[in-house]
Amino acid sequence: MDVLALSRIQFALTAGIHYLYPPLSIGLGVMLVVMEGLWLKTHLPIYHQMARFWTKVFALTFSIGVATGIVLEFEFGTNWATYSRYVGDVFGSALAAEGIFAFFLESGFLAVLLFGWNRVSRPVHFFATCMVCLGAHFSAIWIVVANSWMQTPAGFHIVGEGMKARAEITDFWAMVFNPSSMDRLFHTLCGAWQAGAFLVVSVSAWYLLRGKHDQFARGSLRLGLLFGLIASLLQLVSGHSSAQGVARHQPVKLAAFEGLYETASNAPLALFGWVDEKHERLVGPRIPGLLSFLAHNDASQPVVGLREAAIDPKDRPPVNLAFQLFHLMVAVGFGMILVSALGLLYFRRGSFFERRWVLWLLVLSVLGPQIGNQAGWFAAEVGRQPWIVQGLLRTSEGLSAVVKADTVLTAIILFSAIYLLLFSVFVYLLNDKIHHGPDETDLVPSGKLALPERRKP
């Protein structure tokens, strides 16, 4: 294989594995703020126990997220040096802002969140929890802004020619609020909230199935399901808005997502199917007019097809792959709404124990957001191909000039080995924490936590 293919594999591998963890941290971060906030408000020790247990799970996902994330920051330079030179002026500032605003905030206050229970007062600890959660959200903001700029570049001009050409910022805020960044940020965050919420749901449902930690599991499950349902419904809104943005700004991507070759008014929406790229046609059931309606709020509006948007097949992404990933993501999105609504319904009725299949469904629900997030992220990136920066720089032009294929292969092997190790240790320890369960002593706060709340005079 050549350097291009290997470098793309390396990036997909490292980014894909990294992306298993930060969404969990972001989602769990919100859950922690809610749990600890409820504890401060109600003084019920069950919320303290929940906050303590989920903090441990959070710490696990966070540390692996950091470890796998450093790789990505260095990878732009190691594998994509030409790209780095080209976009450094734009992309670099977002990355530096991420370091200053997000990473310091997260890692600094994480110390207080994890080790500060007996060292600081309750409100200070709660403040630290909020800051960790905020930091996790900030990191999503800057990286999604940078990536969105690659999808829909704005606020820049090109300076220099040929190998010396590069993008320079002309308007910082236009760069930050480029046409796709807010839609994609909201979409990413909803996915992250779902990931955190359904992890809580899954573990709690497992405890209920086993008949363990009943009070803890019910409390966590209720919060997880509520948050999961809210996030899943918001995801629907955000997904729709995001897709309309793609229709406006990246017609090639939308056409690939839907396997649409011929520009058509009343364009149909495919439910599922298979794109025959050779004969440029789509096989599968379609609902006429729905794509036009969803994209433009008007069924009679035309949706641009691939033959018009990208005349040369070289300018098209791998259509079937983009189609399948996109449809997988959408299917999972609807699935999560169903699952959380169903779970909440039976939870209200209190008839979980007669319907063990519902609990089993909830245990498995943790996979949903992970599959959806991965499929969605891959769809977004595959759909942009062959461009690394939409319309400006091709992926094949972004490579490091001096790096050889066997070097990249060595790196892939090293990273695969260490990521495999990381992943197995993660699963092992998560499993261990779940088996160990919440600490019963946490129901009786001790040390500084046991001090009476200061009352107003």
Binding site: I70, G77, A81, G92, A96, A401
Partner: protein
């Protein structure tokens, strides 16, 4: 000497220097604690060593991430050339840093001796390899690396492992070990504290030996790294400050003033990085053998607009970061006590 009027490019040269100095001073001690880790024998001692850095190592590593991000943003050509040129070295550094982070996190999660021993070795090896590679990278930057006319690295991985860079690598390990030993001294009490006090002399001797050899080698073989001080004798005061700070360390240790020893070690690092920066300026990567291809603060920089925007970001962000970093160190002041939340 002419530093000229301080333009944006020079300001960013200083900011990035400051970020990497901050990294060396902070992550330096936790890498050093890692390098010393295997010298402790009992499980409790090892847990105390890890928990001495437990709440802060993660934040310390962020200095490297932010330094890398700032380099990308301010001098993208340097970022691209160095990271693609030092490809395997950086991959190894990443693997070492990851392994180390994971080892800290997972070591004490299971009681089995084989499990703990495995992660102990991982933690220590990861720390030593990371320190060594950071030093080797600095050594190559100082010595100069072959660059072609497009500013691309024209050497190989093997060519990066010259004697001078390796020497700087070992010196960095020694420096971090000494720095880490002093930090561990501050954070421990009782038998382990007394044991560390015994080791610290060896650490100091190891470092001062490396330091002397490096200084001689630099003066003899890398004369361009002493040219500015030679031309401007008053700058020798920085070198003098550096030497006095180092000499002050054993003195403070002898009097049992561990905090002041730690501060001395920090000052020594600042002076060393200051000298390094002064000699490099305005170059960021020296091209050796064709100096004309060197990357400097002008030909490698982002646009003035970006440098200005980022300076605004830094001016807003950095004071906040410093304020809460100090508060967090304050919250976790005092000797390490193991409890159920400890590593």
């Amino acid at each position: 000497m002419t530093f000229g009027s301080l333009d944006l490019n020079s300001t960013w040269f200083i900011v990035i220097g400051a970020l990497f100095t901050g990294y060396a001073m902070l992550d330096g001690f936790d890498l050093g604690v890692g390098a010393l880790h295997l010298f402790t024998k009992t499980d409790e001692e090892r847990r105390i060593m890890i928990n001495a850095i437990g709440p802060v190592w993660d934040g310390n590593e962020v200095w490297l991430v932010t330094g890398g991000g700032a380099l990308f943003a301010a001098f993208p050509n340097v970022y691209a050339t160095v990271f693609s040129g030092f490809y395997l070295a950086f991959v190894l550094l990443l693997v070492a840093l990851i392994f180390r982070a994971v080892a800290i996190e997972f070591r004490s999660k299971q009681p089995m001796p084989w499990w703990r021993r495995m992660w102990d070795i991982g933690f220590s090896a990861g720390s030593i390899v990371s320190s060594l590679l950071i030093g080797v990278a600095m050594g190559n930057i100082a010595w100069g690396i072959p660059l072609d006319e497009r500013g691309e690295f024209a050497g190989t991985f093997r060519s990066l492992l010259g004697p001078y860079p390796l020497l700087l690598g070992v010196t960095t390990v020694a420096l971090f070990m000494m720095h880490g030993a002093i930090y561990a001294l501050i954070k421990t009490e009782g038998a382990l504290h007394d044991k560390l006090r015994g080791w610290i002399n060896n650490c100091i001797i190891f470092f001062i030996t490396c330091y002397a050899v490096t200084t001689m080698a630099t003066l003899l073989y890398v004369p361009h790294m002493a040219a500015r001080v030679r031309a401007n004798p008053w700058l020798f005061s920085i070198a003098l400050l550096n030497m006095l700070a180092i000499a002050n360390i054993p003195r403070e240790i002898h009097h049992g003033r561990d905090w002041r020893a730690f501060l001395s070690s920090g000052v020594a690092m600042i002076a060393l990085m200051g000298l390094f920066g002064l000699e490099m300026y305005p170059n960021l990567v020296l091209s050796n053998p064709t100096p004309a291809n060197s990357l400097d603060i002008h030909n490698a920089a982002s646009s003035q607009k970006t440098l200005a925007v980022m300076l605004t970001i830094a001016l807003i962000g950095v004071p906040v970061v410093l304020a809460y970093t100090v508060s967090i160190y304050w919250i976790f002041r005092g000797k390490v006590k193991l409890d159920k939340m400890s590593y």
